[in-house]
């Protein structure tokens, strides 16, 4: 290769790199803008939010806004409910989905095709189809409205998680499990003490996605836990939008309190997040 063509190729690379950044930077700024404005709004008094000036930098009113929000609705209490529900849900759902994934990865059994068909069939089935009977059953037949059980148990069914765990377990060396079996170790002990520890990174990815799903869940908690003391944080915040009970600054402070912890987790555990989401599609 002549030095001339090498120079022109590195120039072409530089040109492409500039075009790439010139395009991507404004797009990234547009994408960050709503999050940035959420933070800015949460630190402003309402006469600042509703002023004709363009305010793009944070002020110092965050704690006043939190106080305003807490007076209008017991938001801290609602956050307590959301945290407890999300933690319990995540633990139960991880157990449930990894047990099912394990069964599909390790055993041959009668009706296996049927179970796999159920899982794939429900991925694309709209949740709307089960919503009404679920509500009637939980609220009227079981009389469980406004309880933690209502928030935690019905959403436990989850198809993508099972596929993810089945995939994770089938990629493991099965000789290991068979060797344990030859030693006389029971299957549930192999699952708990050999397979699960090996699956730790996948369990982390799954747990993060499930925690997030529970934390942000809106429609089901809105319907089933509508009593003020039983509301999750997103539902409590949603009831304030469009009313004048709490200032916009207060609502935005609530939005920040819901979002900021998840953003921190996202930054710290981005690899697991991305793995969990990508696993939905890549097999």
């Amino acid at each position: 290769m002549t030095s001339h063509s090498r120079v022109s190729r590195s120039q072409a690379r530089l040109g492409r790199s500039i075009v790439l950044h010139l395009f991507l930077t404004p797009l990234a700024l547009v994408w960050l803008f709503p999050l940035w404005m959420m933070v800015v709004f949460s630190t402003m008094p309402d006469n600042g939010i509703f002023s004709p000036d363009i305010e793009l930098l944070p002020h110092g009113n965050f704690l006043d806004n939190v106080g305003n929000l807490q007076r209008g609705t017991n938001f801290i209490g609602a956050i307590g409910i959301s945290v407890s529900v999300a933690v319990t849900y995540t633990f139960l759902s991880v157990m449930l989905t990894s047990m099912a994934g394990w069964a599909l990865a390790r055993y041959n059994f009668f009706g296996k095709g049927m179970v796999v068909a159920i899982i794939f069939g429900t991925i694309t089935l709209p949740y709307a189809v089960v919503l009404i009977p679920q509500f009637i059953m939980v609220a009227r037949d079981f009389k469980l409205a406004n309880t933690w059980v209502a928030l935690i148990v019905p959403p436990l069914f989850n198809s993508l998680g099972v596929l993810f765990m089945r995939q994770s377990f089938s990629m493991m060396p099965h000789e290991l499990f068979d060797a344990a079996k030859v030693e006389g170790v029971k299957e549930w002990r192999i699952f708990l003490f050999v397979a699960l520890p090996l699956a730790r990174p996948m369990l982390a990815a799954l747990a993060i996605i499930l925690f997030l799903a529970s934390w942000n869940n809106y429609l089901w908690p809105l319907l089933i836990n509508s009593k003020p003391g039983a509301m999750t944080a997103p539902v409590a915040l949603g009831t304030l939008i469009g009313l004048t009970k709490v200032s916009w600054g207060g609502i935005m402070a609530g939005a920040v309190m819901l979002t900021a912890p998840m953003l921190v987790v996202f930054v710290l555990l981005q690899r697991h997040f991305v793995a969990g989401i990508a696993a939905g599609a890549i097999k």
Binding site: L35, A100, F109, I132, Q134, F135, I282
Partner: protein, 286 residues
């Protein structure tokens, strides 16, 4: 291999139990309820009561039209944007990759309520930052929420903002599974980057693009929170009412479970049709 029915079903039991109670039975029940008149006590079997109402209900056709309109505009825009994001994030020339990834992926963790509140405030007529910015470059304010077209645009922008990065994550994983030497060979053959994108990347990515499109269509079809909170219960005047919102209004405001179930099954029918199209699109060529 020998069958281990007892062991397998012991591991599957909790999962199948939850499935049977909270999915299998509701799927059947919802179908049965759609054939009952549910505003009388006790409910009575009336096969054409809800379905007959559905095919003559302007509110249903309005919600169907709005939902399909959002689908055909928002989903292609978002998927195209997600492909662009994924391809550019995958470029070896990119600096500060972590910052760009954060910018596009961060909306994935933001809850519907939080971002609906922000979008509603940003697009406020008199004090919203969007109108202020438009004014500052000499453009007139847009009355975002009292006219149907701009209200729809806000919904579509909000959904696109929230979900483009999610799809980009899936597509990026797909891109990274394409072997590097395919591109190296193409580069040696002096195939331009643009041609590589259209003749290598897109065809190899097709199954994943279709998967993203189907998940997005099914998600958007059930759109509820954004028109509920951002445009205030599907306003202006039902102009952004979606099927999801109509179902909520009929089922949980008017407590008309029969009619709401008929709406739910219409959505399921659409979803099944779309899934069949997906299977047809990604079938292996014989």
């Amino acid at each position: 291999m020998r069958y281990q029915n007892a062991t397998a079903y012991r591991f599957l039991a909790p999962y199948l139990l939850i499935f049977s109670i909270f999915w299998l039975w509701p799927i059947i029940d919802s179908f049965l309820i759609s054939f009952q008149a549910t505003r009388t006590v006790p409910w009575r079997f009336a096969p054409t009561f809800n379905w007959g109402r559905l095919i003559g209900d302007p509110a249903f056709f309005n919600a169907l039209k709005n939902t399909l309109l959002i689908l055909v505009i928002q989903v292609p825009v978002m998927i195209s944007l997600a492909i662009v994001m994924a391809v550019l994030l995958n470029s070896p020339l990119l600096k500060a990759r972590g910052l760009f990834r954060f910018a596009f992926f961060a909306p994935v963790v933001v809850g519907e309520v939080a971002y609906s509140a922000v979008f509603r405030l940003m697009f406020n007529l008199d004090y919203g930052i969007i109108n202020k910015l438009l004014n500052s470059i000499g453009l007139p304010s847009v009355d975002w929420f009292t006219n149907v077209t701009p209200a729809m645009a806000v919904i579509m922008m909000a959904v696109t903002w929230r979900w483009a990065g999610y799809n980009a994550i899936i597509l990026l994983a797909g891109l990274q599974s394409i072997p590097e030497d395919v591109y190296e060979a193409a580069t040696l053959d002096r195939v331009s980057k643009v041609k590589q994108f259209f003749y290598i990347t897109l065809p190899l990515l097709k199954p994943i693009i279709v998967f993203c499109a189907v998940l997005s269509i099914i998600g958007t079809m059930q759109l509820f929170t954004e028109p509920f909170l951002i445009t205030e219960r599907g306003g202006p005047g039902g102009g952004t009412e979606t099927l999801g919102l109509l179902l909520y209004r009929q089922g949980f405001r008017s407590l008309n479970f029969g009619y709401a179930s008929a709406i739910a099954y219409t959505m399921a029918g659409l979803a099944i049709a779309i899934s069949l199209v997906q299977i047809w699109l990604t079938r292996e060529p014989k």
